[in-house]
Symmetry: none
Subunit: 368 residues, 2 copies
DNA sequence: TCTCCCAATGAATCCATCT
DNA sequence: CAGATGGATTCATTGGGAG
């Protein structure tokens, strides 16, 4: 499958190969304006300090690899500026770039992208359906990563397969937030020691959507931080040519083996995970946040025997018990459990109305 | 409701007022380290093109697009740097800031936040359940905005009401992606001409969650880009004090009228679910002193595998260790740490009961 | 073979207080 | 300020082994 092409009579393009070495040096060897799309998953510069344990005392396997360490923001900025400059040179005028990151690095990457003259088209949120929780209860669960999609310049005639995206999304415009599970199970590559081969392997479904949306068959996709080659594997599957650059020999080996095993397959198999799910869960707290119920308002039980007051955090308080709508209902009824949605009612025009009516309203909005 | 306080004998803090004028100048008039939280929705559609100058003072040629774009970013960065510096000065050491933006400006804001010494805690995605569709079908539907939550410095003891957020979300950790509708319907304010009063009015549900999560009742919340006063309205409702700064008289008028109509919710409805961390500390030795446990009595672990003897000084002794309930538990389990309160049980009527039950009894007495 | 239960794990800037 | 100590804290999914 390895092939080469010549661009404008210049040097050959090493298609469907994994180039060893530093990405800046390797990109600088390639002819300018020769690549259709760049997908980049640069180091995030996580700046982790001590160890972290789960509540069950097991230790979290953190990203402590040397390649993710930078001395300062300035060092990271310089690195970003340099690889972006090299990337921009080899990009065709109508080409585009995707970069993925987290809050540790993405703001710096976005700034440097804009400074380099790239034109941001969308920021796209990968909402993880199964993120790692926050074990110490100190912050919000870090449940997403951010991707920036940008054309080489303002006015660049970038590729966007609008209809394909719409079709993928039940004939509704594809939004800027994508819900996809993290990469684990059989898709997660293992090394010879049985450990995960790479600490940050991206799911193929993510790349599938990126490539389907912003490239055409036969396009050249370059990934300067190739890792275990998700970009290459999906590109091959979808009939795109890839160029990977990776410094670590161990990652290159795993990636090459992986890509050799890839066959062009019926691509919609990958998108199964993104199709419709069951009725979305609506937390009771949303009714309060949205002002459908007011903190301090009284709810009454359907049988008229009990009452409870709504609090600002979406819990109820009754005579001697505080907690969720379900818990308080169960306690007041002396029952092991209780469906608070059908149990509790509020008054509208003097008549009791089930709070479930409000949940229906929210679900109806969500379907739009 | 307007009131003033004095901080450390300095100038008064103009609480629950909307200050007219430029936010940087107005913030500079306030005493330093006096504000608990800042919520900022900075503008990004700055009309800067008309009066831009190159470093050599020559007028920018409007045809020269590259210069134009670069200088416009530079001007925005300077503006961001200045208002962030003013904001940081008035923030208490354990205070925090929220900034909301879109891909046009959020990367620049995030970078400047980090450069100013703020410490990012989370980036939070407001996922709009009813966004404006992309009419031209050239990009993805822009269906979210990004908020950055940051403490004043690394190590700042910021406020985070973890349990309240969990309660609000049906007893699972609140994630970094928040699904909320955009502001429309009755909540959307109109001006005297029947047009929408402000182009980017934020929904109250968003501020409700922000303030509930990261402030306590009585905290001072400052919004330097007050607009039509969503921050002030929700702050009043939730029993927080606000300071608004707004340049445009028309917005100030609308905001003032809106806030005057807001009712504060009952203070008992403002009470939120609290964490165990907030509970007073009870030394294990108290259980022995009070005779709830006798010296010489045996405790058993919840998993039934281990046992230890209570000593008169509130330490335990097992096979080959002596020490606190935590230390002995950790040692016996070979774990890095152990919560002795939940690990150890005593026998009552032949059945194991957690020693935490005894701690609860003491705490209940303390509350009386 | 099928089901149930337990263990493992994922890009994480993850404690507070006193000595 | 470093070090020691008390004690608080998790969600969705996968896979393997037991039954």
């Amino acid at each position: 499958m390895t092939k080469t092409t010549t661009q404008q009579g210049q040097r050959a393009l090493p298609l469907n190969q994994i180039l060893p070495g530093d990405c800046i040096a390797e990109m600088n060897k390639l002819p300018e304006a020769s690549v259709d799309l760049i997908f980049a998953d640069p180091p995030y510069n996580l700046q982790l300090k001590g160890n972290l344990h789960r509540p069950d005392n097991s230790q979290v396997d953190a990203v402590d690899d040397h390649w993710d360490q930078f001395d300062s923001f300035k060092a990271y900025d310089t690195f970003t500026e340099e690889w972006l400059a090299a990337a921009r040179r080899i990009l065709k005028p109508d080409g585009a770039i995707w970069v993925i990151g987290s809050y540790h690095n993405i703001f710096r990457v976005g700034t440097k992208l804009q400074d380099a003259g790239f034109w941001i088209l969308n920021d796209v949120i990968w909402r993880k359906s199964n993120p790692m929780p926050n074990f110490r209860g100190m912050r919000l669960t870090n449940a997403h990563e951010t991707m920036i999609w940008a054309s080489k310049s303002e006015g660049g005639k970038y590729t966007f397969n609008y209809e394909a995206m719409k079709a993928l999304n039940d004939d509704v415009q594809m939004r800027s937030d994508w819900v996809l599970p993290i990469c684990n199970g059989h898709e997660r590559l293992k090394n010879s020691r049985g450990e995960k081969a790479h600490p940050t392997q991206k799911p193929e479904a993510l790349l599938h959507r990126v490539l389907l949306a912003t490239t055409n068959p036969g396009d050249v996709v370059l990934d300067p931080f190739f890792g275990t080659g998700t970009t290459g594997a999906v590109a091959k599957m979808l009939g795109r040519d890839f160029i990977g650059i990776e410094r670590e020999a161990e990652y290159r080996e795993v990636a090459q083996k992986r890509i050799d095993n890839v066959r062009k397959i019926d691509s919609d198999a990958l998108e199964i995970t993104t199709s419709k799910r069951a009725e979305p869960r609506v937390p009771f707290g949303q009714l309060v946040e949205r002002g459908m119920l007011r903190p301090g308002e009284m709810l009454i039980s359907g049988n008229g025997k009990n009452a409870a007051k709504v609090r600002a955090d979406g819990t109820l308080v009754a005579r001697d018990v505080k907690g969720s709508i379900h818990k308080v209902g169960a306690h007041l009824e002396g029952a092991p459990s209780c469906n608070g949605w059908t149990y509790w009612h509020f008054k509208r025009d003097g008549k009791p109305v089930s709070i479930d009516v409000l949940r229906q309203q929210i679900r109806a909005e969500m379907r739009d």
